[in-house]
Amino acid sequence: MEGTNNLNAARVMIVDDAGIIRMTVSRILEKEGYHVYEAEDGLRALAMMEESSPDALLLDLKMPVMTGLDLLRVLKSEWPDTEVIVITAYAEDQMVRQVEELGVMQIVTKPFTDLSLLKKFVARAVVETRLSKGKPIEDEAPLRQVLLLNGRVRHEDFEKALSRSRGKNQSLKSVLIEQGNITEAGLQEAVKDFIRNTETSVPDALCAGTM
């Protein structure tokens, strides 16, 4: 788990009572460079909030002890800056409305048939949170999405900078700037671009599959 040693890595919490989903999401996001916390219900998630201080939460709705919706209400009042992505097996319309009213931009349906989308959504949420909190965006995740997707930085330059940053225990952003791959202004531009281009959407109930 390359990213997990880095305390400055962006942090994401996955809250889902299904172990397999927690494990899968952890594997996917750790590979992206996130530090991932796992909680199996809403109450445990709340207990971990202070210590983990995540940049984004992935939240299942149907959970024992404390439902996702109840957790969402607490999160939105206590940590209004922290972005939440709702993951659900089946989004009923009424539920979608309630979730949207609570300020959730993104709902993802399980199972994830397109991982690249999930990665993009998580990066977007992290970027938003960091911008709200005034914290720097300087680590592998979410920079991987921000810089590589719109081609601001070449893939090999990114990987080179990444291994250098790990060796020197220096932020990825500063190495990229040192290497001359990007400027401070260019990065800000890239972040803006990324937010603009990552459109949020509620799930479409339409099944395009053939019957």
Partner: protein
Amino acid sequence: MVNTDNVRVPDEALQTMSVLMVDDEANVLRSLKRVLRTEPYKIITADSGEEGLKLLKEQSFQMIVSDQRMPSMSGIEFLEKAREISPQTIRIILTGYSDLQTAEDAINRVRIYRFLCKPWNDEDLKSTIREGLNKWWLEQENKRMFRTIQEQNRSLKQWNEKLGHMVEERTKALRNTQEQLVQSEKMASLGVLAGGVAHEINNPLGGILGITQLLLSDCIEDKQLKEDLETIQNAAVHCSEIVKNLLSFSRGNDSQKRDIVSFDKIVDEVMMLIGHTFRKKNITMEKNIPEDFPYLVVNQHQIKQVLVNLLVNAQQASQKGGKIHVRARRDDDRTMSLEVADHGSGIPREIMDKIFDPFFTTKPEGEGTGLGLSVSYRIMQEHGGKITVDSTEEGTCISLVLPAKAAADYEEKDSGTESGQGPDREKTEEFEALFAEGTNK
């Protein structure tokens, strides 16, 4: 039939009757008239057969009383001709001279009613004429009644047929209702099952899909491993499609949601989604939606889903380069129809009653979930409508019949809503109330 013993011709009827008396001797005619002057019927006289025939052609007589021996034409000859002109008229011969030949002829050729001899007995003559007229009247009466009975019989028969028809129709309707009930029960029980199972399956499926994709991004070099992983991935995606369709059965709140959308636009949006499958087979889609076709008040996601199902089926049933028709029309004040028609080889009759069954599919393994039409059936039901199928060897036409209340003659025509966000949602809610009646079962 009328009982001749009791029924006598009423005097009013007698007053309308005429008796023709034919005799070449004027004094016989005179004395006959005198004898019968108190009788209610009219007496008209003729002094020869020829004269008698002339009168017969001019007016109708209920009875002829004729002499036999007359100079130019005998009574038998006259009555024979008279019978041709007016077969119903009662014929009587009144003769002073009789031989066997005359009697025979009178019976065989003239079908005489009575053979009277001169000189006559007045009372006998009167009663004979009365009886004859009575017979005539009874015969007419019988005929009339027979005709009436025949007519009544005919109309009874018609009623019988009509009733038979109605019973047949009702039986058919009943059978249809029963079939639909069976179908909706199948759907309902599947819905309960589906809702529960789908949630449980989605989580492990999420694990399989997630990890498989993760591994796939790692092992781009190993071709065999990559192929194997892709097989797992495809199978899992197929599973998730089944689950997604199953979930459509478990009734969610959203099935009550209604959007105001143009059918034309729905078709376009669906074609954007699946158009590539049409282009691949060089199939064209011909849209025929009247310009004044009303906006629909439906759950647009669900109707899109139905259309996707129908269009994909139609595309798969079509030959390369074929044509698919999408039509819309108002049937009457109560319903409107949306149709998808192809020119494929049709649905075999033996599977016709199974096509709406969940998991029934004719497609190769792994290609269809067998849920498309059953989900569509359910969706149409929830819209207060139905699906009808018309399939021959020349093609299949599936009609979505929607109740008139699914039409919005709404001034502020809305441009369609995306998941009912923003201001559209309020409009949607307005129409939900309007529609609720149709969907409560």
